[in-house]
Amino acid sequence: MQLTLPIAHALVGKSDLPIPEWLFAWGASLVLIVSFVALTLAWQRTRFEDEGWRPVSEWISRALVNRVVGFAAGALGAFLLGLTIYAALKGTEAPDRNFSLTFVFVTFWLGLVVVSVLLGDVFRALNPWRAIARAVAGVFRLIAGQSPPAPLHYPERLGRWPAVIGIAAFAWMELVWGQSGFQAVGLVPHDVGIAVIVYSAITFIGMALFGIEEWTSRGEAFSVYFNMFSRLSALEVREGRLGFRRALSGAVGWAAVPGSIALVLLTIGVTAFDGAQEGVLKDAITSLFDTLVDAGLGPVASLRVTNSIFLALTIAAVAAIFWGGVAGMHTVRAGIRIRELGRLFGHAFIPIALAYLVAHYFTLVLYQEQAQFTYLLSDPLGDGSDILGTAGSGIDYGLIGATAVWYVQVGALIVGHVTALVLGHDRALAVYRDPATASRSQYWMLAMMVGFTTLGLFLLSQANQ
């Protein structure tokens, strides 16, 4: 059965735009160039190297960050994990009527990104695997009188790579195993349930081997993924105290850990592929698919192989743009190795990953969250029950017009890329010391930003034409 959710993220019927779509790409590029000039002239000292974290008043912090709230958040996360697995395994196989698919691929995967940017790293509190592991460790402590020991030391060079593999596997499952393109391959709730169980087992093994907090912060894919976006937030909890820092400043230095650049480029590449597979890449995918079928491979296997290849190529193209730009920056002043430069500036691409997600999935979230919080919550198994009395609700597809959606997408891409320019420029001032060299190095950042902006708008304009 075909996963039907992503139908809503395509853009259709932008017939009443005042100018051609390609002219929006020119306009967006102009905004970036003007922003670049303004930064060069007016932004002469670093602002994000010091996060400037300051605690909120103690009673507010205590009210929001305490054991009871922590326990409740963990219990909620564990409940939702259990509900997802139960609904996936016991509920209807109709993807649009089962709680699990919308919850995993929209509310969790996309919704928590937005929440993380606005409120900080809330998934750390909600993380069901961490909550369950901590509860088990608590019981262990009661019985044995000591915390369970971690038998292995987490290798530093492994960095965030286990999380990169986890996110890549998740994206592959969504876009290749159960893709929604011109052929129905099939992602049914049962597959999702099995995948969640397998991932949970891997996570618990990782926590048992390396320690709960160590694996959560480096290896657990979704903790690392949502934490990446929370680095843009102004809110952060430090040593149990809630505080404010300069928005965006938490991102500085994030890419120094191995695997970080791969994660942010993977996020951009995966979103770009999702936009391209039904648009600009459709003919090429069809062509390779036909070739493989003619060669004797079955249609489902052919489609999965084809999509795997094009997904990998799209991620490689995004990585090529990034490393090409970094190599360009390297020409400005020798002395810093290209790989090191990548780590110094990789965090600037987090806002781009966010912009791509918002631009591409805006309508999907807007429509599917109506389903999530009405009939899917009231009838999670899709078996006709009506727990909350909202099972009869539907999705209002007329909530926002296609033209308004287009403006939201263009706005998200522009804001995301200007933010990336700001982060890059600020970092360049710290790295190169003198503003003139910093600005020269950022010509290349500007080229990358213009490239990613026009690519993003091109993909959106080509989707479902």
């Binding site: 390609w22 790409a25 590029s29 160039i33 213009v450 490239g451 026009t454 690519l455």
Partner: protein, 42 residues
């Protein structure tokens, strides 16, 4: 009959139009680098 590539000109023109801003920025970078190199040599 195989269509001539020119029949797809409208299609390719869109690609070019989207690429123009990138080409302008890359051209500016190349020009600046050349100018800086000349200045250094001089």
């Amino acid at each position: 009959m195989t269509p001539l590539p020119i029949a797809h000109a409208g299609h390719w023109a869109i690609y070019v139009l989207y690429a123009v801003p990138v080409l302008i920025v890359l051209g500016s970078i190349a020009r600046t680098m050349l100018r800086d190199r000349r200045k250094d040599d001089g």
